[in-house]
Amino acid sequence: MTHRPYARTGASVAWRVTRSARLDAFARAGAIVLLVCFSVSLRASIARSGAIGGVTEGYLYGALWLGIAAVGRTRAGDRADVLRGATDLRTAIPIGAIAGGVLLILPLVLHDPSPALRIGQGTAFWPWAAATSLVAVAEEVVLRGVLWRWIAVAGGDVAALIATSALFALIHVPTYGPTIVPLDLAVGCYLGGLRLWFGNPGASAVAHLVADLGTWWL
């Protein structure tokens, strides 16, 4: 018997999801959120203990998130994305790079003169860049990849946009404090818009990567 949790309603791109598939997707999204909260708590505990340095902590955190992506992966939303006409990565990547550049320009234009804050320069560039890239991509694969898809199946794209943006802001509070919530909420919305436009997390992952790596020079 073929599993058909999604059914086309006609020749158009319209599609519908059965009630059982919605409930199932809701439970899976909740499970992913729990795993995300667990990994963020673990990271905060490790950072507070000082047991592991920043870069090693980044590798560990990124690997945890890739693990979440692996257990939470789904093809359930693929069909929805395909029906909407998802764009391939060759288009998403350059647009994502430009979108990340826009995020880098914003503080330079709006925040000048601003105090400098060295974040990563206590270590060599390449290990830091590798850890930063791993974390940025892993966060996108989980938040705007698997989690987005399950929430979109359960509650639609608007719910996915709101939930992933809020979670994106909240997961950074232990590291940066509550004052960062407005900025990360807004950037989460921005990245969510890219994900929605292209139908996959490719553009948002590249934008996130560019914005994070750019902090080395800010």
Partner: protein, 286 residues
């Protein structure tokens, strides 16, 4: 443009506008996104409590008066003390070609803040010109200072030691935990002050109250004399019991009961989530 594309375009524009607004009104430290891998050095004390690290360092830079301003910070990552100033905010004596900017950790004065406890080192901020003449902040102007405190400093104010008393300055979190910033209208001795009862994470005892030491003068800074050398004293105060270590990495051994409970809850959450995620997708009814 179909509905998802319209929603996507709206989200991008809304996010961009929100990010711009947050940059204007948010933490004073510019970041494109509060994210990524943060490498934080342990806090370096001038007079470390037992169990914590000493070796606080100052900085002294000679800067030509060029461009709009300067930023000078201590060598830790992120810096433990930092000054950012526009030249227009300084009252430059005539003939000033270079500035000597110094940030020096100094011994804590005998006078304690009235509204809390010193959280970290006292830093003396000094600016002089090439002739050793002190350069004050211009009347009606302000410069930015940032101070990072020890780990676990969730609430603190920047205070100025003025006329033998600590005065609180309007302080904002700088966007990174344990780091605070303020606009100040004079240079001098500054420190972070935490609420009463605060103790640094990992400390085995409160820091010994330092005896006052001669304060380096601006002229001494300009003439090139060395900043105060760190003097480390790990002797705990004789009175009162040692507080319980509050960081997981601190000595003391064993996992406390509450941490075991937290680990158990975490493990249960992970197992429950994995069970949900590994279920096969149910076919639709009918």
């Amino acid at each position: 443009m179909n509905r998802p594309r319209r929603l996507a375009a709206g989200a991008v524009l809304l996010g961009l506008a929100g990010a711009a607004l947050a940059q204007i009104s948010g933490p004073p430290v510019a970041r494109p996104l509060y994210d990524g891998v943060v490498v934080v050095d342990p806090y370096r004390w001038l007079d470390p409590p037992a169990g914590l690290e000493g070796g606080a360092r100052g900085v002294r830079q000679t800067l030509p008066v060029q461009g709009g301003g300067f930023s000078v910070d201590t060598p830790e990552n992120p810096p433990q003390a930092q000054i950012d100033a526009d030249y227009s905010a300084l009252s430059l004596p005539s003939g000033t070609k270079t500035l000597v900017v110094a940030i020096t950790p100094v011994k804590a004065p005998p006078v304690a803040p009235g509204d809390g406890v010193l959280a970290g080192n006292v830093y003396e901020l000094q600016v002089a010109n090439q002739r050793g003449v002190a350069v004050p902040v211009a009347s009606g102007s302000q410069v930015t200072v940032l101070f990072r405190g020890p780990s676990s400093l969730t609430d603190a104010k920047i205070e100025l030691l003025s006329n033998g008393a600590w005065t609180a300055i309007e302080t904002e979190p700088a966007g990174v935990p344990d780091m605070y910033t303020a606009l100040v209208s004079e240079f001098g001795e500054y420190a972070l002050v935490a609420p009463p009862g605060w103790l640094p994470a990992g400390a085995l005892a409160t820091p010994q109250r330092a005896t006052p030491s001669p304060t380096p003068t601006v002229a001494a800074v300009a003439s090139g004399s060395e900043p105060a050398a760190p003097q480390i004293s790990a002797t705990p105060e004789p009175s009162g019991p040692a507080p319980t270590p509050s960081s997981p990495g601190s000595p003391g051994g064993g996992l406390p009961f509450d941490r075991l409970i937290a680990l158990g809850i975490g493990a249960a959450v992970v197992v429950a989530a994995l069970i949900v995620l590994r279920r096969p997708i149910r076919p639709p009814p009918g």
